[in-house]
Amino acid sequence: MSRQRKRIHLAAHFPGVNNTTVWADPRSKSQIDFSSFEHLARTAERGLFDFFFLAEGLRLREHNGRIHDLDVVGRPESMTVLNALAAVTERLGLAATVNTTFNEPYELARRFASLDHLSGGRAAWNVVTSSDAFTGENFRRGGFLDRADRYTRAAEFVAVARGLWDSQGTKGTPDGTPDGLRGGTPGGTPRPFAHTGRHFTLEGEFGLPRSPQGHPVVIQAGDSDEGREFAASTADVIFTRHGSLEAGRAFYADVKRRLARYGRAPEELKIMPGVTLVLGDTAAEAREKAVEIRRQQVSPQTALLTLEQIWGVDLSGYDPDGPLPDIDPDPDAQLAQGRVRHGDPLAVAAKWRALSEEKGLSIRQTVIEATGRQSFIGTPEAVAAEMAEYVAADAADGFILVPHLTPGGLDDFVDRVVPLLQERGAFRTAYTGPTLRDHLGLPYPGERRERD
């Protein structure tokens, strides 16, 4: 078989909170004990994955003024978990989602540089901007940022962080440090740092020498035009939801096109949709399992609550197995709080209603159909072939796998699919370098600047 032109990048999402995690499955264990994180991370490293990914939520979701109690909730703070995982893994990248609205650049730059040092160059930061006054109630600043301002703060935040990381010298000098770290500056000559901008004014000296990757890898998750532009200008990786082949190709082409504006080459930004997967010994078995998993994820109660989140009104009188309500959503309602919103409720409701009418679906069936993300469902051979096809067709550079079970959700994939991807020449058979930048084939910041 011919060697594939593009290699697939793979990352593992820890199935923690929300309803992708099927907690009712007897194989489902703690979402908080360190042993769960250790199991999934070791599995991902055994599978030679690029990185391990943790999401963030800073306030428990509410429904109708009460804490939402149907989904898995309760998670540890990401960077602390990732530092601990650095002790039980050797090569796996370690990515934390951290919001720019409720943090300050100096502190976060220092924490990511610490993770990069302690892990030997495996740190990544998924920069997110969502969250509102509801989440802000847990923080000193409160929820003061308009939607429009979130990305301007995020962009300034990342620029300041990079300035801090660079303030100890920008040169990537392989093996230049006394401890032989790539990217270090010999002698570590600190330079004072000063920044005055719209959101931040700070000055002083960054307390750490350059970390192994120079700049920890920056990931962006967000989909608006501003989000895509922010990613094109700043990110190394995009975590997207555009999973289907056509949607993926359109997104891929759009984002890669934007890079040129910032003097960046297409391969400097990796596009990695979040996907789920279900394996079976036969195609039919996999399909059956997939249906059962979706039914567990979307119980009758979950289906109604999901619908209420869009309609913004109490729908408890409706039958989850009956048709969608014919009343209109209230676009200004605050029934559900703390969930990341995707699009305007009226438009979403219209789309769902059309879907339901076209296929004759009940409320629960509609929710199952409309909220599913891209899934690879089939035998290991079929899944390997499909993944390789997506990447070869420029619908993605790789995938962030979102298993539905904690912590064993990737065992089968690593044991059964990874070897097949390797046989096709579509996936690495060994890590080629020590750092996450090496795994992703991303330039070191110093190297890029020197080439210019």
């Binding site: 908080i32 994180f37 309760g74 601990a84 401890d179 020498p209």
Partner: protein, 367 residues
């Protein structure tokens, strides 16, 4: 020899300005664990401690150390001035999760203009103000640690409910400095409350220490002075409705262990423990051999002046090794110090009970 009244507690700093590699810290923590010390500490400051002397984030380092050790307590310094109380509470609770109940937190403030400028959020403030705020941060952290009752997670398949939301609580903390709504994102940590430490080495810290700390360090050059400080702190703690024994008082000592085993015939009272010049700050310095240090510890402990010692090795690798292999071994031989960890958590080592959940107590009381 008189029989000391309580268990002797020993802790050591594993500071390493200019050390950026994990194995350095792992090796020191393992060495301390071999000596069955109660806990190790790692200092931190928001800004660089000096030209060319950077520090990693202390909580990050001890998280990295956690899976590489088994029993020893892990107490990073975390500052409260330029940080978010909600994040601090989550990070410390998470250290407790990843270490399976071995986390502590030394509360510290950032008082310099240089640190304030690194953040740019607000100017430097007087120490009294910052310590009052630190106390509030400790308070809200404890409330957040209680905001999930221990049995809040029910996984009830019959009703489809993952949690019993009546066992999750809004903390609704309000002070002029900040507000926090709650509940925590992190479920109640294994120890209930990770151990809170305060260096009560300046009177400006005393209220916060007496009110919120489980462990305090004091600076004293004689057992009499140490005993007086302990009495003062304990009576303040009692004033806040706490039990005197809730406060574990450790004498902080910097140790420079010379190569000899200690001058023969010198009594513990003569052991050289000198206060540093006021400008330098820091704990009193012990300079001598490990045997004499064991004598000094025995003497103070037997006099019931302190509950134990927090050692800062001047040359970390060398002095900690001599402390563990020399002083600790001798204290163990004399039956003054444990030879194994009878419990699993830092609270176990310190003889502190696991705090009851305040909301569960309220619920019981309301019944």
């Amino acid at each position: 020899m008189a029989v000391p009244t309580g268990t002797l507690h020993l802790a050591a700093a594993i500071d390493g300005d200019g050390q950026y590699q994990a194995p350095y810290y792992v090796d020191l923590a393992r060495l301390a664990e071999r000596g069955t010390l109660d806990f190790v500490t790692l200092d931190d400051t928001f800004g660089p401690p000096g030209p060319g002397r950077g520090r990693l984030d202390a909580l990050a380092v001890l998280s990295r150390v956690a899976p590489a050790t088994g029993r020893i307590g892990l107490v990073p310094t975390v500052t409260t001035t330029h940080t978010e109380p909600f994040h601090v509470s989550s990070a410390v609770a998470t250290l407790d999760w990843v270490s399976r109940g071995r986390a502590g937190w030394r509360v510290e403030v950032s008082s310099t203009e240089a640190e304030a400028r690194l953040v740019g959020r607000r100017p430097a403030a007087p120490a009294g103000e910052l310590w009052a705020e630190a106390g509030e941060v400790a308070d809200v952290a404890a409330r957040l640690w209680d905001s999930w009752e221990d049995d809040a997670e029910i996984r009830d398949t019959a009703t489809g409910r993952f949690i019993d939301r009546d066992k999750l609580h809004y903390v609704d903390f309000e002070s002029p400095r900040f507000t926090v709504r709650g509940p925590a994102i992190v479920p109640r940590p294994p120890q209930g409350h990770p151990v809170v430490a305060v260096a009560a080495t300046d009177p400006v810290t005393w209220e916060t220490a007496a009110r919120h700390a489980d462990v305090v360090y004091v600076h004293a050059t004689s057992p009499e002075e140490a005993g007086r400080l302990r009495d003062q702190l304990r009576s303040r703690a009692v004033g806040y409705g706490r039990e005197a024994g809730a406060l574990t008082v450790l004498a902080a000592v910097a140790v420079d262990l010379a190569d000899g085993e200690g001058a023969a015939g010198r009594s513990p009272a003569d052991a050289p423990l000198v206060r540093p010049p006021a400008t330098a700050g820091g704990p009193p310095l012990y300079r001598g051999g490990p045997v004499d240090l064991a004598e000094l510890i025995t003497g103070w402990h037997t006099a019931d002046a302190v509950d134990g010692f927090h050692i800062t090795p001047v040359a970390p690798r060398h002095d900690l090794e001599r402390f563990v292999n020399g002083s600790v071994a001798l204290l163990q031989h004399r039956g003054l110090f444990r030879t194994f960890y009878p419990g699993a958590t830092l609270r176990d080592h310190l003889g502190l009970s696991r705090p009851a959940n305040r909301y569960a107590l309220e619920r019981e009381a309301a019944r």
